[in-house]
C-alpha cells in the first residue's frame, strides 16, 4: 500500500503559541459558542427535531485540542459532538442542515445531531452510544501507525463514558500497542444528571491512566491555553511514536444535558452554573488576548459579529436545503462494491 504523504502539524514538538494560534483558538471558541447558542434557540422554537446535546461552556477543550490537528488527524466524538466538528473546521451550513434533517446536511439528514460527521476532515462521527468512540479511535490510530502517516487520533469522551467497558479495553490496547492516540476526557462533572461523585469513587479520571501504563494528566478545561499546551504535548508525544496519553480536562456544561433548559428536574443549583460561568473560557481567553495585546475588544466584537453573520448565513442555507426524498430512504445502507479484482 502506498505510504501517502499526509498533512501532519509539523513534526514532533507542539507548535509554538504564536499570536496567530491564540487568535485561531479564540475564533474556534467563538464559532462553537455562536453555533450552539443559535442551535439551542432553534431547538426551542421547534425547528430542530430529536435530541440536541449542546457544548456551551466546554469550548476551550475542543478549540485547544483541534488547533493542533490537520484534516488527516482523526477525532472520535460523542453525543455532544457539534463543538468538536465546528472546531475541526466543519461547514456550519451543512451542520445546521444536518440538525434540521435536510438533504444538504453532512449526513443527508440521515444522522442528525448525534451522528454528525465529516470523514473528509477526519471527524469520525458524533455517536449515540456512550463509550463507542474509544474502540473506533484506536482503530484509526492503528491505521495511522500501520500506514506510517505520522497522524494522530484524538478520542473525546465524557466522565460518564469513562465508566463504560469500551474505554477500558481501548485504553489497554492503545498502551499495549503504543498507538498514536490521545484519550481526551471532557469531565464536565456529570453523566446526564448524575454527578461525578455518584458515578465513580475517584476524583480524577486521569488516575485511570496508570492502570494501562500510560501517562495521565489533568488540565483546567476552562483555560484554552492550558488545554492547548497539555494536549499539544500529548499529541506531539503520539506523533513521536511514544504512545497514548490520557488527558482529563475539567470543564462544565452550562445548558442542560439535552437542549437548553432541560425537563425541569432539578439536579444542580443555578448558583453552581453561575460560579462556573465566572470562569467562562471565552471570557478568560479574551481577557488574556487583550492583556497580551493580541486582540483588542473591538477586534473581538468584530470577530463575534462576523461569526454570527456566518452562523445566520449557515442557518439560511440549512433552511433552504430540501428535505430528503423518500427514494433516499434505502440509499447508503451498503457500499456498492466493484467486485472481484
Amino acid at each position: 500500500m502506498p505510504r501517502r504523504k499526509s498533512k501532519v502539524a509539523d513534526g514532533t514538538n507542539p507548535p509554538a503559541l504564536t499570536d496567530d494560534v491564540l487568535r485561531d483558538i479564540f475564533e474556534r471558541m467563538v464559532r462553537i459558542r455562536s453555533f450552539e447558542e443559535e442551535a439551542g434557540k432553534l431547538m426551542e422554537s421547534g425547528r430542530i427535531p430529536g435530541a440536541l446535546h449542546l457544548y456551551v461552556g466546554e469550548e476551550a477543550v475542543a478549540a485547544g485540542v483541534m488547533v493542533h490537528l490537520t484534516d488527516d488527524d482523526q477525532i472520535t466524538s460523542t453525543h455532544r459532538g457539534h463543538g468538536h466538528l465546528v472546531a475541526k473546521g466543519g461547514d456550519l451550513g451543512r451542520m445546521y442542515a444536518e440538525l434540521f434533517g435536510k438533504a444538504g446536511g453532512y449526513c443527508k439528514g440521515k444522522g442528525g445531531s448525534m451522528h454528525i460527521s465529516d470523514v473528509e476532515k477526519g471527524m469520525l462521527g458524533a455517536n449515540g452510544i456512550v463509550g463507542a468512540g474509544p474502540p473506533i479511535a484506536i482503530g484509526a490510530a492503528f491505521s495511522n501507525k500501520y500506514r506510517g502517516t505520522g497522524n494522530v487520533t484524538v478520542c473525546f469522551f465524557g466522565d460518564g463514558a469513562s465508566n463504560e467497558g469500551t474505554f477500558h479495553e481501548a485504553a489497554n490496547m492503545a498502551a499495549l500497542y503504543g498507538l498514536p492516540v490521545i484519550f481526551l476526557c471532557e469531565n464536565n462533572g456529570f453523566g446526564e444528571y448524575t454527578r461525578q461523585d455518584r458515578h465513580q469513587a475517584i476524583r480524577d479520571v486521569a488516575d485511570r491512566a496508570a492502570g494501562y501504563g500510560m501517562p495521565g494528566v489533568v488540565v483546567d478545561g476552562m483555560d484554552a491555553v492550558a488545554v492547548y499546551e497539555t494536549a499539544g504535548e500529548a499529541i506531539a508525544r503520539a506523533r513521536r511514536g511514544e504512545g497514548p496519553t490520557l488527558v482529563e480536562a475539567k470543564t462544565y456544561r452550562y445548558f442542560d444535558h439535552v437542549g437548553v433548559r432541560g425537563m425541569g428536574v432539578v439536579y444542580r443549583d443555578d448558583s453552581e452554573v453561575l460560579e462556573w460561568r465566572k470562569r467562562d473560557p471565552i471570557d478568560l481567553l479574551g481577557s488574556r488576548l487583550e492583556e497580551l495585546g493580541v486582540m483588542t475588544r473591538e477586534q473581538m466584537d468584530t470577530l463575534q459579529e462576523r461569526v454570527l453573520f456566518e452562523v445566520r448565513e449557515a442557518i439560511a442555507f440549512a433552511e433552504a436545503s430540501p428535505d430528503p426524498t423518500p427514494d433516499q430512504l434505502l440509499e447508503d445502507v451498503y457500499t456498492v462494491t466493484a467486485g472481484a479484482r
Binding site: 427535531p49 430529536g50 435530541a51 434533517g101 435536510k102 449526513c107 439528514g109 440521515k110 444522522g111 442528525g112 448525534m114 451522528h115 455517536n127 449515540g128 452510544i129 456512550v130 463509550g131 460518564g160 463514558a161 465508566n163 463504560e164 467497558g165 469500551t166 453523566g191 446526564e192 444528571y193 448524575t194 455518584r198 458515578h199 465513580q200 428536574v265 439536579y267 428535505d323 430528503p324 426524498t325 423518500p326 433516499q328 430512504l329 434505502l330 445502507v333
Partner: protein, 335 residues
C-alpha cells in the same frame, strides 16, 4: 391469574402506569429494587420512576454509572442470591453493550446449572422510533431476544398492558424483558388502581373480527385498530390480536383466529427482514396451512437503519396506512 378489571379504573398515561406497577410491586415485596442510569435522583429520563427515590430510599432505587454490562450483571447476581431486581436499560438500542449478560448469563444460568438457579429478574427498556432520535436510539430488537431460550419477552400495547405485564414480569421467577415504546409514553388508558397482573404467554383479542386477522406488536396494535376501521369500508371485519407476550408466544390464539378468517397480516415496528413477524408468519402457514386463502403478509420497517430526518422517518415507520396497504395487497393475492 388474569387481570381484575372490575374495580376502580382511572385514566393513567403509559408512563404513570409503569410507575404505578413498580411502586405497588415494591410496596408489596421488599426484595424488589430498581437500578439504572438516572432512575433515582432524576426519576428516569422518561419519568417512569419519578418520586420512587423519595418513597423507597437510595438502597432500593439505585442510580448507576453508565455501565450497562455492570448493571445487568448486577441484576443477574442479585437475582441469583435472593433479590428481585428491576433493571432499566434506558434505550433498547443499548442492549448491544450488554447482550452477553442478557443472553449468555441471565437467559442460560438456570439451564446450564441443571435447574438449580432461579433468576427473578426484570429488565425494562424503551424501544421504537418516531421521535427523530436516529439509528442508535430508535430500534426495535425484540426478535433477537425472542430467539434466546430462557428469556421471556413482553411488549405492552398501552397503559393497561404496561402495568399488568410489568407486574407479571416482576413476579415471574425468570428473566423477563419488558419492551416499552417511547411514542406511547404520554398516551392514556383506563388502568385499575389495584395491583393486577396480565398472565404471561396469553395473547389478547383486542377486536374480534370474522374475515381478516391482524397480529400486531406493541404500539402497532393501535395502528392496526385504525387500519381495521379503514378496512371496514372495504367490507372487511378485521380481528386484531395483541400477543402481549412475545416469548413464549401464544400461537394457539393466533392460529385459531386464522382458522376463522383465512387471511392474516403480522405487524411490527422492527425491521421486517428477520423480525418476529417472520416467526409468526412461519408458524401460521405451518399450523394453519389448510385454512389459508392467501399468504400471510407482513408489515415492518424497511431494510435500513432508522433515519433521523422527520421526512424520512415518517416513511420508515409502519403505521395504519401501511397496514391497510399490506392487507389490500394480501387480498389481491387470494387464490
Amino acid at each position: 391469574m388474569t387481570a381484575v378489571e372490575s374495580t376502580t379504573a382511572r385514566s393513567l398515561t403509559y408512563v404513570e402506569a409503569i410507575k404505578e406497577a413498580i411502586t405497588q410491586s415494591m410496596r408489596e415485596d421488599p426484595s424488589i429494587f430498581l437500578a439504572g442510569e438516572d432512575v433515582a435522583l432524576y426519576g428516569g429520563v422518561f419519568g417512569t420512576s419519578r418520586g420512587l427515590l423519595a418513597e423507597f430510599g437510595p438502597e432500593r432505587v439505585v442510580d448507576t454509572p453508565i455501565s450497562e454490562s455492570g448493571l445487568v450483571g448486577m441484576g443477574v447476581g442479585a437475582a441469583a442470591t435472593g433479590l428481585r431486581p428491576i433493571i432499566e436499560i434506558m434505550f433498547m438500542d443499548f442492549i448491544g453493550v450488554c447482550m452477553d449478560e442478557i443472553v449468555n448469563q441471565a437467559a442460560k444460568m438456570k439451564y446450564m446449572f441443571g435447574g438449580s438457579a432461579r433468576l427473578p429478574l426484570t429488565i425494562r427498556t424503551m424501544a421504537g422510533g418516531g421521535m427523530n432520535m436516529a439509528a442508535q436510539h430508535s430500534q426495535s430488537l425484540e426478535a433477537w431476544l425472542c430467539h434466546v431460550p430462557g428469556l421471556k419477552v413482553v411488549m405492552p400495547s398501552g397503559a393497561y398492558e404496561a402495568k399488568g405485564l410489568l407486574v407479571a414480569a416482576i413476579r415471574d421467577d425468570n428473566p423477563v424483558i419488558v419492551i416499552e415504546q417511547k411514542l406511547m409514553l404520554g398516551r392514556p388508558a383506563e388502568v385499575p388502581e389495584e395491583l393486577y397482573e396480565i398472565e404471561l404467554g396469553k395473547a389478547h383479542v383486542v377486536k374480534p373480527g370474522s374475515n381478516f386477522t391482524i397480529v400486531a406488536l406493541g404500539r402497532m396494535v393501535s395502528e392496526s385498530l385504525k387500519a381495521a376501521e379503514v378496512l371496514s369500508a372495504d367490507g372487511l371485519d378485521v380481528e386484531v390480536i395483541d400477543p402481549r407476550t412475545l416469548q413464549p408466544l401464544d400461537t394457539a390464539t393466533i392460529v385459531d383466529s386464522l382458522k376463522k378468517t383465512h387471511r392474516a397480516v403480522v405487524v411490527h415496528e422492527a425491521v421486517r427482514f428477520g423480525g418476529l413477524g417472520a416467526e409468526i408468519a412461519a408458524q401460521m402457514q405451518e399450523e394453519g396451512f389448510d385454512y389459508l386463502d392467501a399468504p400471510v403478509g407482513r408489515v415492518g420497517a424497511p431494510f435500513a437503519p432508522v433515519p433521523f430526518s422527520p421526512a424520512l422517518e415518517r416513511e420508515y415507520i409502519p403505521n395504519a396506512d401501511k397496514i391497510v396497504a399490506e392487507v389490500r395487497r394480501i387480498l389481491g393475492k387470494q387464490v
